[in-house]
Subunit: 157 residues, 2 copies
């Protein structure tokens, strides 16, 4: 598997994969091309035999000088359980540390139990919100009305 | 009119305005909350009597150290022709210059003639693309299949 930085031209390959990998949910609007143009030294693709099987889109926070944020991570459904996600996250953690930052944040939905379990396994902690959903602390209406979110933070060593 | 930096809590006010101001088009997914959290010192709202009548969401490019990018600008339909957009752009141009950068980029659809005319009036130049639509140079399939885009750049003095 090859992990490399994304290029602007990857957008046209990755954008349609999003709706496909998320089981047809209309998700691709959440990842506009600008991330491939203006944040491409902190964003990665994983390829096997030239086929994109995973990607991670992240950036260094402009507002918080010790933080970085992971916006979107996707792994091809046929290639899960292959540590592709883990390798992408570790690549990102390394570039964050190289940039002198030590906090990585990301956000997920309370319904996404797989994502919650995955982030905990990857060493993220759940931030104390203002509501509980199925025993998990969430921020109510974080992403708009009825859009509660679980906020994660990981401190890098 | 008061222009101020956006806060995280503005997200819940601005997000529903997007679909409203864009005539019901489902646009709000293109502006996720992260812009209000991680790029809030280069993003602005305009208020009249405490009501949000405009906003500009922009950032300093992480990949291109002399560039900044405007992601989203909206003005309340009832308050157009009041130079609200112009004031928001100028505020952004100032913060870009304060950060030692001198190129501002943004992107629009070829169908959006009003936006094209507006950007030209604001001193943006159209970048030479690979196709022409109604006499305007565009980048074919820039934002995905059949999603041609006009790319603008403005050099700040």
């Amino acid at each position: 598997m090859d992990i490399r930085l994304v290029k602007g031209s990857d957008y046209n390959a990755i954008s349609p994969l999003i709706n496909e990998w998320w089981g047809g949910r209309q998700m691709s609007d959440m990842l506009p091309k600008l991330f491939f143009v203006h944040f491409n030294e902190t964003s990665y693709t994983a390829e096997i035999n030239g086929e994109i099987v995973g990607f991670l889109i992240g950036f260094l926070s402009q507002s918080h000088s010790d933080e970085a944020y992971i916006h979107f991570v996707g792994v091809h459904p046929d290639y899960r359980k292959n540590n592709i996600g883990k390798k992408l996250y570790n690549e990102f953690f390394n570039v964050v540390k190289e940039n002198g930052r030590n906090i990585v944040r990301c956000v997920t939905s309370p319904v996404n139990k797989v994502s919650i379990a995955y982030h905990i396994k990857m060493g993220f902690e759940i931030e104390e919100g203002n509501k509980e959903v199925d025993g998990v602390s969430v921020f109510a209406n974080y992403d708009g009305p009825n859009q509660d979110r679980v906020l994660f933070a990981k401190k890098l060593d």
